[in-house]
């Protein structure tokens, strides 16, 4: 291996081992966007201050996410002797004094906050973390350093074989790197599943220079945050993957296009890039090898279609981020019309693992056509909105029960949506589908980049379609009439249905939208109507109830429900009157009443007076069929 790299890795390993054996307690605090939202920055500050003030023999360190995103702040504590590590959850700022006293000063455990024993022996009260329902069956390769290393410290990454894959790739020729990538079977993790090695080979075979390597970190699917977890937790893994791609495709310049909604990921990626420059891993004459590679973190500005590779390229290129018409493909004419390769964060992050351990090792974890592990995040009406890494293949039902902790309040799962707003909605019968690519392709949708949203019976399918289509309308770049006009039309019709104006002919309008949006230039338009298309199949009864019977079974659609006073004697009614934002609730002769014209169906009154108020079906005058055919 390159001598300079080898010595950096060796000295980082020595330093890591020395630090682990310095006789001080290690307190690792998960600090990422999810945990900060739950007060991790305050916990970190309180821990540091208390350790300093009490002169405790402990080192407090920032680390990435364990995936327990719903019970942050998570704190792992390793004993002074280094023989035992316990992971704790919900270590909020107010719990810090007691936590430190019991866990550090007294050297004991705090079982009521413990998730499990990471290393060492379990006790009667604290089982092994590996036996935790959420951890069992997970294979953490991409997430291996999360919870252990400081994402801001390149030496921590070195100490865990960081950049060793790049070191090995430096001694391989480009064909050999690509062969290893192809042998691994790694498919693009953004959702397409196209073999990453083949994409790199396209760029390698390009005839023009310079050629560009781009990381698509514009994770725009609402409900997906797998890329954020990686970038905030182990940013050097992505840089190493891009360096390997650069070697394989003879590229000298790269960009990480990162959405502005992730300021902490931007900060940590930029810091990691700066460190890589300082250590001679980026820039001119990398590690004395004569190879050059410059890498820039490029901050997005709020546009979903910039997650489409040519929209992203146009955005860096200083144009509006409108997807281009293909061909030419980016490998022929991409950034500044030069050959360009765009991969997802998770795709690049797998490359170091493949080169370090070999394609055979990497692919052996999965018995499916899709090789390797995949990260997923769960959200919606589930108990555990967290992040996991598993081999492809389990059934959605099992993943929901085991890793997402089932549905909230013991409710039943009504359906789910994989793959973001462009994918579709499936009903509970499809919970038997596996987490692989084909079942969704067969339904004209896709598994996507890793976010899965689950919903229960309180969700209204028509309202969810309103949400997805309004998102698609808002984010349409405007190039294709089918898309910007079609999504606008879809939203109009859905809202009319929600307001009690549904017509049976609306199904024909949807049919026309579904069949014409596919002509749009890019995936955004082509897949914008998928939510309508799939839900008209999976939830047809609910759609027809809205359209024909003017009824919303979930009690969500504003024109199909009314709020009324149920019980005049309810003592909470004054609170309802007070909270109403439109003064729709009033008293007349001592009797409470709702002015339906003012009511905006926000439901605040029912929250504060659950026994006094109720939701009933609105009485909507049904227009006879055929009376109004046109939209």
């Amino acid at each position: 291996m390159n001598a300079r790299l080898e010595s950096m890795i060796a000295s980082a390993k020595d330093a890591w081992t020395a630090a682990q054996n310095n006789g001080r307690v290690k307190i690792n605090v998960t600090v990422d966007t999810s945990s900060i939202a739950q007060g991790a920055d305050a916990t970190l500050g309180a821990l540091r201050e208390a350790v300093r003030a009490n002169n405790l023999a402990a080192d407090v360190q920032v680390t990435g996410s364990w995936g327990f995103c719903w019970m942050e702040p998570c704190v792992a504590v390793r004993s002074a002797a280094g023989t035992r590590t316990v992971l704790y959850a919900n270590v909020t700022e107010d719990r810090v004094p007691e936590f430190l006293q019991r866990v550090v000063v007294d050297g004991g455990d705090m079982p009521e906050l413990a998730l499990g024993v990471v290393e060492g022996n379990p006790t009667a009260e604290i089982p092994l973390l590996a036996d935790h329902q959420f951890m069992k069956g997970q294979v953490r390769r991409l997430m291996a350093n999360l919870g252990t290393t400081d994402p801001g410290n390149v030496d921590h990454y070195f100490a865990h074989d960081g950049y060793a894959g790049f070191g090995m790739a430096l001694e391989m020729d480009a064909e050999a790197i690509i062969k290893e990538m192809l042998d691994s079977g790694l498919g693009g993790r953004g959702g397409g599943g196209f073999p990453t090695g083949r994409k790199w080979d396209f760029l390698r075979n390009a005839t023009a220079d310079p050629r560009y390597i781009i990381c698509n970190a514009d994770e725009g699917d609402p409900g997906a945050w797998v890329n954020r977890i990686l970038m905030e937790g182990d940013p050097h893994l992505i840089i190493e993957g891009m360096l390997i791609a650069a070697l394989a495709a003879h590229s000298t310049e790269g960009y990480i296009y990162l959405r502005y909604e992730y300021p902490l990921a931007i900060e940590r990626m930029q810091h990691a890039v700066d460190q890589a420059y300082e250590r001679g891993l980026l820039g001119k004459d990398i590690l004395g090898t004569g190879k050059d590679f410059d890498l820039f973190v490029f901050k997005g500005a709020g546009s979903y279609v910039c997650g489409e590779e040519t929209g992203l390229i146009n955005s860096i290129d200083s144009y509006r981020g409108m997807p281009r018409i293909k061909p030419p493909f980016p490998a022929q004419a991409g950034l500044w019309n030069k050959p360009t390769n765009v991969n997802n964060v998770e795709s690049y992050a797998n490359a170091p693992l493949i080169i370090r351990n070999g394609a055979q090792w990497w692919s052996s974890v999965s018995d499916q056509k899709e090789k390797g592990t995949k990260m997923f995040t769960f959200s919606g009406q589930v108990n555990w909105p967290g992040c996991i890494e598993i081999p492809f293949g389990p059934k959605v039902r099992d993943v929901l029960d085991q890793y997402a902790g089932g549905m909230r309040d013991g409710r039943k799962c009504k359906g789910f949506q994989p793959g973001g707003p462009l994918s579709g909605m499936l009903n509970a019968a499809d919970l038997d589908l596996t987490l692989t690519l084909d079942p969704y392709r067969e339904k004209g949708m896709f598994l996507g980049s890793g976010g899965i949203v689950f919903f229960d019976e309180t969700a209204c399918i028509v309202d969810m379609c309103n949400f997805f289509l309004a998102f698609c309308e808002d984010e349409s770049c405007g190039r294709c009439t089918t898309c910007h006009g079609g999504t606008q039309r879809a939203v109009e019709v859905i809202r009319r249905i929600q307001n009690g104006g549904g017509r049976e002919t609306d199904v024909n309008i949807f049919e026309q939208l579904v069949t014409t949006l596919v002509w749009s230039n890019c995936l955004h338009g082509q897949f914008a109507p998928t939510a309508i298309k799939t839900s008209l199949k999976a939830f047809r009864d609910e759609w027809m109830e809205h359209i024909v019977d003017k009824r919303c079974r979930a009690g969500v659609c504003p024109g199909l429900i009314r709020y009324v006073v149920r019980s005049q004697g309810d003592p909470d009614l004054p609170k309802a009157e007070d909270i109403c934002p439109t003064r729709a609730i009033y008293q007349d002769d001592g009797q409470y009443a709702v002015d339906d014209a003012l009511c905006i169906r926000c439901g605040a009154c029912k929250e504060v007076a659950p026994n006094g108020m109720e939701v009933v079906d609105a009485i909507v005058q049904v227009v006879p069929a055929g009376a109004a055919a046109a939209g």
């Binding site: 939202a37 500005a301 959200s379 309202d463 969810m464 926000c602």
Partner: protein, 159 residues
């Protein structure tokens, strides 16, 4: 709020940027980070610096949701539009807050004290439904919580 910048200040701020190097968004971000928004004057200065037209710069300004052409309000509420929030009452929270504040989404009060705009999901879905007040998460909201929060912000009784 910073006073309106002079042309000289703006020119110095963007002097590092060059034509044909993908510097439009970095320049817009730099101006917005300093002044909170991108003014007409700034668009013209950036265009000159990058040897292009204000029309092209404005094309980007109008394309991206994050680039503002007016100063933000002192207290900006970003309402999370994500699916987890939506499923847990997010859209009713939006309706109620907008009516309480008497503002459209993307609007701010005449005195620029408070405003509300659409925010995109950042994956802190455990806190759903949520809003961000000047970037700080206020989560697990009921509609009633959101109305009280909006009233406090409107009345100025909240820091």
């Amino acid at each position: 709020m910073a006073a309106a910048p002079s042309l000289q200040e703006l020119r110095e701020l963007v002097a590092e940027f060059q034509p044909n190097r993908g510097h439009v968004l970095p320049a817009l971000h730099k101006v917005q980070e300093k002044y909170g928004y991108v003014s007409r004057e700034a668009i013209e200065v950036i265009a000159r610096q990058l040897n292009t037209t204000p029309a092209l710069i404005f094309g980007s300004v109008s394309f991206y949701a994050d680039i503002r052409t007016h100063p933000p309000a002192e207290t900006e509420i970003a309402w999370c539009s994500g699916p987890a929030c939506r499923l847990l009452g997010g859209d009713r929270i939006r309706e109620a807050m907008q009516h309480t504040l008497e503002l459209p989404l993307g609007g701010s009060s005449e005195d620029h004290r408070y405003g509300i705009h659409l925010g995109q999901c950042n994956g802190t879905c455990s806190e759903a439904p949520q809003v961000w007040v000047n970037g700080r998460v206020i989560g697990k909201l009921t509609v009633a919580d959101a109305i009280l929060l909006a009233r406090e912000i409107k009345e100025g009784s909240r820091e």
